[in-house]
């Protein structure tokens, strides 16, 4: 099954980014296709290449990048939300791309399910 995911909150502050990640990993493990993960609102902060959490903590941004590399998951950051919050090409982590809100709507149309994680 094709599953789309929407993440509305940034890393660390709320659990949303963690829940979305664990859900995506489980979906892939079950043989489903994660069609796209769209980052909106403060969710765009998940794409910041400049985060440097304590070493003994989970590396949320790096985890997303690895997911993109290993499973070819399409990680899309909303351009309007990103500009508002200071995420641009220059501080975009590997595996993410910046695009329009249309990508979220498209995900809703193309995926069999859309699952939302937020606050």
């Amino acid at each position: 099954m094709k599953i789309g995911i929407l993440v509305n909150e940034g890393p660390y502050q709320h659990q949303a980014a963690d829940s979305a990640y664990q859900f995506a990993v489980a979906a892939l493990k079950a043989g489903h296709q994660v069609q796209r993960i769209f980052f909106y609102h403060d969710g765009v902060h998940n794409a910041s290449s400049l985060t440097e959490p304590p070493r003994d903590d989970r590396q949320i941004v790096q985890r997303w990048s690895q997911l993109a590399e290993e499973h070819k998951v399409d990680l899309v950051v909303c351009i309007a939300a990103a500009l508002r919050r200071g995420i641009r090409e220059q501080n975009l982590a590997p595996g993410f791309r910046i695009s329009g809100l249309g990508q979220l709507v498209e995900s809703g149309i193309q995926a069999d399910r859309l699952v939302v994680f937020g606050d």
């Binding site: 909106y40 609102h41 329009g100 249309g102 709507v105 498209e106 809703g108 149309i109 937020g118």
Partner: protein, 129 residues
């Protein structure tokens, strides 16, 4: 939005946007509206639900100039240009807030909680912010 993005092979799904948060205290209401406007251009079957504190989003008396923000409620009027007319407001949510049924910036359909629940159950894609 590019034409390319708009190409979704003629599929029409029932999209529901659920608005349950008050405006201005957080950005969710405003950024939700931005998605709705984009979705409209994709020729989908779009509905908007306003319940709980979300009913406050449509009050025509809003004036956020004193807190340095823009009043985005009039933007809802643009939805009519896209033939998006299914704006549902929950009656019980209005009653709990002591609000009348006719103080909104756009025409809405006031429905009961039970009708809201039925409407929700009939959707293909539900977006909440």
């Amino acid at each position: 939005m590019s034409m390319e993005e708009g190409e979704t092979t003629g599929v029409v799904k029932r999209f529901l946007f659920v608005n349950r948060k008050a405006p201005y205290g957080t950005i969710y209401a405003l950024e939700a509206l931005e998605v709705v406007l984009i979705t409209a251009a994709f020729d989908q079957d779009v509905s908007l639900a306003f319940l709980d504190d979300g009913v406050y989003q449509l009050l025509k008396t809003a004036d956020p100039t004193g807190i340095g923000m823009k009043n985005f409620a009039p933007t809802y009027r643009a939805l009519d240009d896209y033939d998006i007319t299914k704006l549902f407001v929950e009656r019980e949510s209005l009653e709990e807030r002591g609000l009348p049924e006719d103080n909104f910036v756009v025409p809405v359909t006031v429905i009961s909680r039970a009708e809201m629940a039925d409407m929700m159950a009939a959707q293909d894609v539900v977006l909440s912010f």
